[in-house]
């Protein structure tokens, strides 16, 4: 192994959180290196408008995703089962390469509700301790919405998020989400233009007494220059957003929002195709000395650094902590240990509506974040008392795409191929719409992550094992929500509505969502969390962790907005407090 000259900061993974951390810390004068296991990617060379909209290459063959041969997980539903490796990613699709999953996301960019942050105390206060599901391990976040607000705001400005505010400094705004937390500012760009489905949803939801509003999205609606001076162009509604890189500089990503300025900084270096295998510790186990990584030629390097920032995908941050022996593995039998604890997911389901032949939805003129929403059944907006569950979901009517291979909705009972299938496609595909939901997924004692005892990766390191299932509380919540989506769909004028309830057990095959959360959660004490409120590791104070692995449980929203806000929140603490007293814990255990 060769030892390299020491850097001030080593960043593991160059996606959203890594590129933001790198840019801000390099600007602050530190010498920064980011080590990324995937390839370099930028819009001009990799997402050419002539080749980017290729459904077979990107959506079906998953061109820009992590290959399971490089890293996968083993999965099971309960601790008494034997976990088996995921040999083809299905339920979730981790990104790969510079930009990470920030390249291929749809761009739904939410703020969690204020009560999502003090979740446990809020629910216990309103409904009593006994109302919580059995074995629930939900807990309050160590930060409040008010503390995160300025950081949500800045991340939205870096991204140019399109949307309409519903609550400006406590004053309700017509057209926005009346249930959202207060905002210090309007969205940077106006909402995208609604398509037919969004207009029908808006009308139907209003008639039902709900409060529809446009989805806040990382598809900018107008030409935009962000606070870093990076420019974006308006979304063209091309319908190739999720699972694709954007060729129009319209989808917020590290490529479109941060890398153009980051790469101009002479005190920053990116090393691609290099996989960090371990965070190295000093003999006392209390200080990280840097990282070890392997390049694409198989050579091993040691990169010493004063500060180590874990900015890989949330699941892989957790695994690297496990492989590095940092923290104590969670044990569901005793409830002791914190690393791997409180893994959660997302509970998504909805209704499909079939409309008459004169209703042409034209979802192909879609965008990742083109949607109309209602939050009337999210979080604790409504009284859960009569329903016997906790949590909720937003209702969503999105037109993300109508790509030719995968978007061929046909009525139930249609053959999977042949003349009748073709005929049904023509008669049906453009006359259907979906009302979906993005549901909360709360934490439980037996849903967790640890190292698999059997299966190893190509470098001989144990795979991470995921133990997870949808619990009755979540399934009950989702049934309630799906019934609401069906009511809206009916009111939109569908002639037939098919409810697609969420059913257990969780299955790794069909794509559901890549919103994997928890495992290295942030908290107020080392007994219930891996990192403190500043995302600083309790045991090794010069290690900071980013990403959705910090969430104690997942809310009824996509996670990226909160991941971005937490990144700027942590940066604020690192720049203004940690660096004045490096190596010291910012919260006393």
């Amino acid at each position: 192994m060769s030892r390299l000259p020491k850097k001030d900061v080593v960043i593991i993974g160059l996606g959203w959180t890594g590129s933001i951390m790198a840019h801000e810390l390099a600007q602050a004068g530190l010498d920064v290196v980011a080590i990324e296991r995937g390839p370099w990617r930028d819009t001009a060379s990799d997402y050419n408008i002539g080749t980017a909209p290729d459904e077979l290459r990107y959506a079906i063959r998953q061109d820009i995703f992590l290959r399971p041969a490089q890293e996968t997980l083993t999965a099971r539903n309960t601790p008494d089962q034997v976990a088996l490796p995921i040999r083809k990613y299905g339920s979730f699709l981790p990104g790969n390469g510079v930009g990470g999953a920030g390249v291929h996301w749809n761009g739904h960019t939410w703020r969690f509700m204020p009560t999502d942050f003090n979740l446990r105390s809020h629910l216990v206060g309103r409904y009593g301790e006994g109302f919580l599901p059995e074995h629930s391990t939900i807990q309050d976040w160590p930060v409040s919405y008010d503390e995160l607000e300025p950081h949500y705001d800045f991340f939205e400005k870096v991204c140019g998020i399109s949307g309409k505010a519903g609550n400006l400094r406590g004053v309700t705004q017509a057209g926005g989400n009346p249930f959202e937390g207060w905002r210090s500012d309007e969205y940077p760009t106006p909402p995208l233009k609604p398509n037919l489905a969004q207009n029908l949803f808006h009308k139907a939801a209003t008639e039902l007494g709900l409060h529809p509003f446009p989805l806040p999205g990382a598809n900018v609606s107008t030409a935009y220059t962000n606070p870093y001076g990076v420019r974006m162009a308006p979304c063209t509604y091309c319908g190739f957003c999720e699972w694709f890189g954007c060729a129009n500089y319209s989808k917020s990503s590290p490529q479109t929002c941060v890398l153009p300025v980051l790469m101009r900084q002479t005190n920053f270096e990116a090393r691609t195709l290099s996989e960090v295998t371990k965070i190295n510790l000093a003999p006392d186990g209390k200080t990280a000395t840097g990282v070890t990584y392997v390049d694409s030629a198989g050579r091993e390097w040691e990169q010493p650094a004063d500060l180590v920032l874990l900015c890989a995908y949330s699941l892989f941050n957790v695994r690297l902590l496990m492989l590095s022996g940092i923290g104590t593995q969670y044990d569901p039998a005793t409830g002791k240990g914190t690393l791997g604890r409180n893994y959660a997911y997302q509970t998504n389901a909805g209704s499909l509506g079939y409309f008459d032949k004169d209703t042409h939805f034209n979802h192909f003129a879609g965008a990742g974040s083109l949607g109309m929403m209602a939050d009337d059944f999210n979080g604790d907006v409504f009284d859960h008392g009569p329903h016997g569950f906790i949590g909720g979901a937003n209702l969503a009517c999105n037109s993300t795409n109508a790509r030719p291979i995968s978007s061929r909705v046909v009525p139930p009972g249609t053959p999977r191929w042949g003349a009748r299938w073709k005929k049904a496609t023509v008669e049906t595909a453009n006359h259907t719409a979906n009302v979906g939901s993005q549901g909360s997924s709360y934490s439980y004692r037996d849903c967790y992550l640890d190292l698999d005892p059997t299966y190893k990766d190509p470098l001989g390191r144990p795979l991470m094992r995921m133990t997870f299932d949808f619990k009755e509380n979540e399934l009950k919540m989702s049934r309630f929500i799906v019934d609401r989506t069906a009511e809206v769909m009916q009111a939109m004028g569908a002639k037939q509505v098919v409810k697609n309830y969420k059913r257990g057990p969780w299955d790794v095959v069909p794509y559901q969502t890549t919103h994997n959360t928890g495992g290295a959660v942030m908290g107020n004490t080392p007994e219930d969390s891996v990192v403190n409120r500043y995302t600083q590791h309790w045991d090794v104070p010069n290690v900071f962790v980013s990403g959705a692995c910090l969430f104690p449980q997942n809310a009824g929203y996509n996670p990226t907005g909160t991941v971005g806000a937490l990144t700027y929140w942590a940066l604020d603490a690192i720049k203004n407090r940690y660096l004045k007293n490096p190596g010291q814990p910012m919260v006393q255990a």
Partner: protein, 411 residues
Amino acid sequence: MRRAALLAATLVAASMAGGTARAEPDNYTEAARGRYLTVLGDCMACHIGPDGQSLAGGHLLETPFGKISVPNITPDNDTGIGRWTADDFHNAMHNGKRPDGTHLYPAFPYTSFTRMSRADNDAVLAYLRSRPAVENRVERDTLPFPFNIRLLMAGWNWLNFTPGEFRPDPQRSAEFNRGAYLVEGPGHCGLCHTPRNLIGGDRDSEHLQGGALQGWFAPNITADARLGIGDWSQEEIVAYLRTGHTDRTAASGPMAEVVAYSTSQMTEEDLKAIAIYLRERGAAAPPAPPAVSAEDPRMRAGEAVYADTCAACHVGNGSGVAGMFPRLANNQLVRQDDPTGILRVVLQGSRSVATPEAPTAPAMPSLGWRLNDQQAADVATYIRNSWGNAAPPVTPDQVRKMREVVADRPG
């Protein structure tokens, strides 16, 4: 940690200064002035070394007569200009001659640099000497026969070259004169923007009216409204030169290098002076041809290609997206008589320049693989004759020839 980084930077600077650099201790002012003159002269664009930082030369500059290798102008004694005296350097800049009396080729723009003063040239040399010597031996005799006979340049100079320092015009403002000095002297804009005669000399009667080079077309930059910069405000010219991007256009191809290494680093006053000079020195261009009728079958075919392939970024009405995707309506670049520029960009694509104020640097993708000659010709004809544009139609044969040009010049 920050202090440690600063200390490291200081040590590096100190060790570099202690090496083979030759700055005299008392000529900081002259060297600093010389550094800015090398920015004005865009020395880096041609003399950039293999390290991407020094002026150690070595790359092959394309000319109509063959490829010329660019010399090392770092102060290395054996492979650079370390042994040159101030007289030697002035003789090169002012007369186009090497210390041994042989001729330089006018790919080195001594035809423009001759406008610079002796004091300027001394300052440039003082700066060059302040930089580290880089050993990089450059094989200089790369031109084919007969152009490899340097003596031929004596005759060429007799026909095409009048040495002489810049003389300000007392009838004009100081800014105009400063702009004239910059454009005609160190900036050597005419090297690309003036058409060449058969032997590569400036066609003086068509000064700054646009010229073909290296498979690109450097457009007319006289004050003509249709083809030149006559429709550009002073602010737009300044913004273009400083950032490489305006609502109308983006610098790419060889101009991207000019912006990156030269104009983006010029002072605001100098950029203004350039704008004033170009806007006030007069307009010159051939008369406008009639626009091709919208009913012409080439226009109809081109419109369909445009809607399919171009409109997402450049927008259906040719308005583009400010600062990102060039506007095609009322865009002088697309309606030059010579369609080399538009065809190059359509067939091969091009990356615009990144500057501190406009770091995004969007790229035009290559479309040569999906448009055939007829389609590329039609869409170019359509763009050149829509939304108020008028320019000669483009033929499939021109596209075919352009494909050959592009094939020799990988993007």
